[in-house]
């Protein structure tokens, strides 16, 4: 509508058709240039912000690591800031354990659900399920944590023993939280497998299940791996729900019923009153977390390059 108005105006002002076309062309070009510049500016601000955040975390965290040594900080399991002991070994292991715990049960479950939605269920039901799962992804983590605290922790306490606040409770809650990521990305990558693969396989006499397990899943492999790595990233970064259900003892748990503390929990638990070296140690914990997640993201890129990037999100 705007354009029509403009053309009318130009027609009245400039009698020659060619002139008017030229005129509007150069104007549009100028507008485009301006928008381009704004976009570049936005991107630059964004990149600068990321750069500054990185710089800040490292500047804040480095002094302590320089003081006690990276090896001691990472591998010592004694965390007692008021006594000057800063070892995040137990929390590093805690983060890894709880993430593995979440993945062990969600990967088979998530993948099966994705296969059901993409291959077996009628497309319409697949879409409805997909929307429902997206809804799950939108629930704030504190709500999951609260459900964990009210339902899962007492259940574990009464049926399995211990206090209930445990590695197990954390792994269950985290698993529920990463399921949407896992299912959606796996489903997308299964749907992105060319139709010919499936048709070819069926034409050669393979059954539906053989087609899924031998053709579809291998073809969607890189997308599925991406889904797992993204879920892993979310699990490692999750804080609120984990703090609420894991009991937060800075130990290496001897069983899945014992409490555990992750690196993210450590930061949120103690930042309230921390000062001096204690605060620096929390920033250093953030630094380790940051590097860990960057490594995870790089590995996603590697995997995605390995396949043809099917189902990359």
């Amino acid at each position: 509508m705007e354009e029509a108005l403009q053309n009318q105006k130009i027609n009245i002002l400039a009698p020659t058709n060619q002139l008017s076309a030229n005129h509007s062309h150069s104007r549009r070009r100028r507008g485009e240039k301006a928008i381009e510049k704004i976009l570049v500016l936005c991107a630059a601000i964004f990149i600068l912000a990321i750069f500054l955040i990185t710089l800040f975390i490292f500047a804040k965290g480095m002094p302590l690591i320089a003081k006690i040594g990276l090896g001691d900080f990472l591998f010592n399991t004694q965390w007692s800031p008021t006594k000057g002991m800063y070892g995040i070994g137990s929390m590093f292991i805690g983060s890894v354990l709880i993430t593995l715990g979440a993945l062990i049960w969600t990967v088979p479950l998530g993948l099966s659900t994705a296969i059901l939605m993409a291959e077996i269920a009628p497309p319409r039901i697949g879409t409805i399920l997909g929307n429902l799962i997206n809804l799950l992804a939108g629930i704030p983590s504190v709500v999951y944590g609260f459900i964990g605290l009210i339902v899962i922790v007492p259940f574990i306490r009464e049926n399995l023993g211990g206090n209930g606040m445990s590695l197990l409770a954390g792994a269950i809650i985290l698993g529920i939280m990463i399921l949407p990521t896992l299912i959606n990305i796996s489903r997308d990558s299964l749907l992105a497998v060319p139709r010919e693969y499936k048709e070819g396989s069926l034409a050669l006499g393979a059954s539906h299940f053989q087609t899924i397990s031998r053709v579809m899943v291998p073809a969607a492999k890189s997308g599925i791996i991406t889904a797992v790595v993204l879920g892993m990233g979310r699990a490692i970064g999750e804080t609120m729900a984990v703090v609420m259900v894991t009991g937060n003892a800075a130990i290496i748990p001897g069983s899945i019923l014992e409490p555990v503390r992750t690196m993210t929990s450590n930061i949120v638990l103690e930042m309230g009153y921390a000062s001096g070296d204690h605060q620096t140690a929390l920033f250093a914990t953030g630094m380790v977390l940051f590097v860990f997640i960057v490594i995870l993201n790089l590995s996603i890129n590697l995997f995605a390059k390995g396949g043809q990037g099917i189902g990359r999100n």
């Binding site: 509508m1 606040m165 703090v243 009991g247 003892a249 103690e270 009153y273 000062s275 204690h278």
Partner: protein
């Protein structure tokens, strides 16, 4: 496209209008409260104990609302740093959540003004048969020597120990008074707020925890410690042992703005703020 743009502009205007309205409201408030201001002006710094800090912050806020020309900076750092700050002159008032040590008293003419008392209640689940413990028992639970309620006359069940995070003022007080600074067992559940400790104890019939006495309610049962009921009267008469004073320290008798601020804190208004925030007044 055009319709959308219009909507964005409209939302923007509404947000701006809202900001302006709330902004005006605030400045009006401040003006009214400042109308009875005295002639005090200047800046003082209160530094020290992180347990006293939240109280100092609220008190400073109210004090500044009454005396508009005054700025009271409140900083943390811990009780020892509060003493250091007063001696070095970095702060006019030092805050501590313990009595002064002899070597601290020897270093300068420090004047101590108690401003509040803080009691720490040791709490268990209401279903727990145990309702009184000695301080020694509590210490043995927290350092890991006693692991089962049976040893204390309760049911045969393992004790779930719930503690606060490192750096918490309540933990400091508990550790200093009851544990004599010995280490809390490593596998104790750690929660980072009074509310979370209470939820933990209320949900697990084998749990034990400690919280600020002002926050005790029906959900948990406060234990008698060495036979003394955990209540305000027993904290004030000193018979309940798990307590500590909140003190302000000045180098020499408080003067000028420091004096005015301390007088405000000790006034009925200041003391009622302290009670509201969860400690006991010293009257």
């Amino acid at each position: 496209m055009k319709k959308n743009f219009g909507r964005i502009v409209l939302t923007g205007i509404l947000v701006l209008a809202l900001l302006v309205v709330t902004g005006c409201g605030k400045s009006n408030d401040a003006g009214e409260q400042g109308s009875d201001s005295g002639k005090l002006s200047g800046t003082i710094t209160v530094a020290g104990s992180t347990s006293v800090q939240p109280f100092s912050e609220v008190l400073a806020e109210e004090f500044q609302a009454v005396n508009t020309g005054v700025t009271v900076n409140v900083q943390g750092g811990g009780s020892s740093q509060g003493v250091e700050a007063v001696i070095s002159g970095a702060a006019q008032i030092g805050a501590a959540s313990r009595d002064l040590k002899d070597e601290e008293k020897a270093r300068a003419n420090l004047v101590v003004t108690p401003i509040a008392l803080d009691g720490v209640a040791v709490v268990v689940n209401p279903a727990n048969k145990v309702s009184a413990l000695t301080a020694e028992d509590i210490k043995n639970i927290y350092i890991g020597n006693i692991k089962n309620w049976q040893e204390l006359g309760g049911e045969d069940a393992p004790i779930t120990i719930i503690s606060r995070e490192e750096g918490s003022g309540t933990r400091d007080a508990f550790s200093e008074i009851v544990l004599n600074k010995e280490d809390i067992v490593k596998d104790a559940i750690i929660q980072n707020s009074t509310g979370a400790v209470k939820t933990g104890v209320a949900g697990d019939k084998n749990a034990i925890g400690y919280i600020s006495m002002a926050k005790v309610d029906q959900a948990v049962k406060a234990l008698r410690v060495d036979g003394v009921e955990a209540n305000e009267a027993n904290v004030k008469n000193g018979s309940y042992k798990v307590q500590r004073p909140f003190i302000y320290i000045t180098n020499g008798e408080p003067q000028g703005l420091s004096k005015a601020f301390i007088e405000y804190v000790l006034s009925d208004e200041g003391q009622s703020i302290i009670s509201e925030e969860g400690a006991f007044s010293i009257q």
